[in-house]
């Protein structure tokens, strides 16, 4: 399949179409938002399912095959918020706290984008390492911690450091993701018992969830003006830069073509579940309109539709 075919394949997936439906609904002033209890329940389901899958595969993967990707994940988690921060300060002239807040989001990972990439590869018939799901759990937290550290000297109202760490590590999404990995790794073959709930319906649940995400993202669009032109450009260019670096690093770490694509997508994606909550508490004077609009309303739809096939094309080019 050539690149255009892949874009087309991706755009015509039920997940992406569901996302578009959510956007359209909000634009015609209708409301397809799920009740909050369901949104929260579906999020928990997705996080746990990803963790379980990653943990199950982690337990079976030989350590030497694992160590490269794991190190790459930690390395990019620690460094990418730094260059994001520098770019925002240098080219965007943003204040320290706002720049750090945004860097926390782009250094961390979007679980839904990750999942969409897996679905894309399944559709395209490209295999990937099963333990990628576990890497998500390792990529989520470091960038948030690094970015908050960058901001603390400038912030006048940062929360105490202990409280911040507790917020990041003990956050619901981190607990579900890491808890899922732990259960998956410990459960062994009995994991089969829960497959009909956590594996088989997964992509359908994701479709329902993406309708909701579309509705949420579209509501943020009205904040675009508040975010300003620079941030819009940043939210489109930074994923491409991070994605290219991620593809190169994934390839270097010995991942397969599919694994490299997923790794690139993880690096390119911006968190909008774990990071916003942690940043809100740790850096209260950062403006949520800036970090949420860029990550949720621009970068997420971009990655979902165009980004993923592009990162795959890069990975193919590197693998050739």
């Amino acid at each position: 399949m050539d690149s255009l075919d892949l874009v087309r394949l991706n755009l015509a997936s039920p997940m992406v179409l569901g996302f578009v439906l959510g956007i359209v609904a909000t634009l015609v002033k209708s409301d397809l938002k799920l009740p909050e209890a369901l949104h929260s329940g579906l999020s928990s389901y997705l996080l746990l399912a990803i963790g379980l899958k990653g943990g199950g595969e982690l337990a079976q993967a030989p350590l030497d095959q694992l160590s490269g990707p794991l190190l790459a994940t930690l390395a990019i988690g620690i460094t990418s918020p730094i260059w994001c921060f520098a770019a925002l300060r240098t080219f965007g002239k943003l204040g320290v706290v706002d720049a750090a807040a945004i860097a926390a989001h782009y250094g961390s990972v979007s679980v839904v984008t990750f999942t969409a990439c897996g679905t894309f590869l399944d559709g395209a018939g490209v295999g990937y390492e099963g333990f990628m799901s576990a890497l998500v759990a390792f990529l989520e937290v470091p960038a948030i911690v690094v970015a908050i550290l960058l901001a603390r000297r400038a912030s006048t109202s940062a929360a105490p450091w202990g409280e911040t760490l507790r917020e990041v590590l003990g956050g619901k999404s981190n607990l579900l993701l890491c808890g899922g990995v732990a259960i998956g790794a410990l459960a062994g073959p009995s994991l089969e018992q829960v497959k009909p709930f956590f594996v088989d319906p997964f992509k359908g649940v994701l479709t329902l969830f993406l309708i909701d995400m579309g509705a949420l993202a579209a509501r943020r669009l009205s904040d675009l003006r508040a975010a300003g032109g620079f941030l819009a450009v940043f939210a489109l260019v930074m994923p491409l830069v991070n994605g290219a670096i991620g593809a190169w690093l994934g390839e270097f770490a010995g991942l397969s073509l599919g694994g490299t694509t997923i790794f690139a997508t993880m690096v390119a994606s911006a968190s909008y579940i774990a990071a916003p909550v942690a940043v809100r508490i740790a850096l209260p004077e950062a403006n949520p309109a800036l970090y949420l609009t860029s990550s949720l309303a621009i970068t997420f739809p971009f990655n979902l539709t165009v980004g993923i096939p592009v990162y795959h094309a890069i990975a193919r080019w590197l693998h050739a």
Partner: protein, 111 residues
């Protein structure tokens, strides 16, 4: 539930107390509860809600929208709650707080 149906019970004496109401971002919930407790409140009621205001910013839709906390307290405790709120939360967070007076059955339990 014991009394014979239809019998008229005695009228009830109530105590005037302050009701402090706080509406704020859901991510603040545990902090606001701790604040209320620390200021001396004996209890509170928590209601999930949403809303719009002048800022309209929310940390995350994943943690839910807003939370409304209501606490029946003495006037002194009410003042203490509002003072800490005003000092620590009003600048950076989406929080609304107000006080009114209600007449509480067995109100002495709450002061």
């Amino acid at each position: 539930m014991r009394s014979p149906a239809g019998s008229t019970p005695d009228p009830v004496r109530t105590v005037a107390l302050k009701r402090v109401t706080i509406v704020g971002e859901a991510v603040l919930e545990s902090r606001l509860v701790a604040l209320i407790r620390a200021a001396g409140a004996k209890g509170f009621t928590r209601i999930a809600c949403s809303g719009e205001g002048s800022r309209g910013v929310r940390a995350s839709d994943w943690e839910g929208a807003n939370v409304k906390l209501e606490s029946l307290v003495s006037p002194a405790v009410a003042d203490a709650i509002l003072a800490v709120l005003a000092r620590d939360y009003f600048e950076h967070f989406a929080v609304v707080a107000y006080v009114d007076e209600v007449h509480v059955v067995r109100g002495d339990k709450y002061v």
